[in-house]
Amino acid sequence: MRDTRGLGRHTTAGSEASEFIVLKAHQQAWETFAACAVSMIPVLKKQMEAVTQQTQRAATDLMTHISALTLADETSRSTETAAHLSQIVMTMQFQDITQQKLEHVAQALDQWDKHLQALLKGPQDENAKQEIAALQRLEQSYTMEEERRLHATALAPDYQEPVPIETEQTEEDLNSVTLF
């Protein structure tokens, strides 16, 4: 699929390498994102569970209380109160539905969690694994060059290293320092 023949050829190698950098960067960014999401999901689920339980408790308390108030108090049998009470009874039922929804959200999050973890594990296909490995080897060699360059620059400002193809910075830039 991917032509990794030698970095020697200028044009193709340059664009290939940068293309690789981009794709590799995507992959790693994806992993960052996925890992973060995976760690957040259990937290979110717990919070939602807590909300569900507490809402149920709150609803029960309130209704018990309202029951006591209305059944005991004759004057509260006005039509207005009756209408209010009807509304409360209906609204409380919505709450029940809301709780169910939260449960479904939790299930969906679980699903997403599993899915992300599967993706994080990476490709299973042999071919794909080899491709990725080859690309990683390429990257490693690249990183070392970068490090070497920085290190060398720090030690000896006049150090002349053959300019790597991909870099934008030239030796000129490194040597010109603006004094203010």
């Binding site: 029951s67 059944l71 009874v89 209906m90 409380m92 029940d96």
Partner: protein, 123 residues
């Protein structure tokens, strides 16, 4: 009125809402969490004049409960109302075939519930 209602639903909130509505209307309410619980309470308890049950419950669901109740002499002709959602057509049909009298749509308006009960419950 002096009538007793059996209210079956696995959601405590729903049970509470139905119980509240019926109690205010003068019913005595016996609650059950699921079909099995309901059958036990139905066999053990006082005479029940009406049953209001949800369909989706653990242990024994509403449809099975209705079938069981209809086998019991005391519940052969007792009005049994299903708490159902508007769009669950198959459930309504299954409920009817199991012997349900009618249905109340969820979420229910307490006034509507009482009207429907009045419809099926001889005074």
């Amino acid at each position: 009125m002096g009538k007793t209602a059996l209210v079956v639903d696995d959601s405590p909130t729903m049970r509470q809402m139905v119980a509240f509505t019926l109690t205010k209307a003068g019913f005595k309410v016996v609650e059950a969490e699921h079909g099995k619980d309901a059958v036990n309470k139905a066999s053990a308890g006082p005479k029940m004049d009406i049953v209001v049950t949800d369909l989706n419950m653990p242990e024994m669901d509403g449809i099975s409960l209705i079938k069981e109740l209809r086998k019991m002499a005391a519940f052969k002709f007792t009005p049994i109302l299903m708490l159902t959602t508007e769009s669950a057509i198959e459930k309504k049909q299954a409920g009817k075939e199991a012997g349900a009298t009618g249905w109340i749509v969820k979420p229910f308006n307490p006034e509507v519930m009482l009207k429907i009960i009045a419809k099926v419950l001889p005074a």
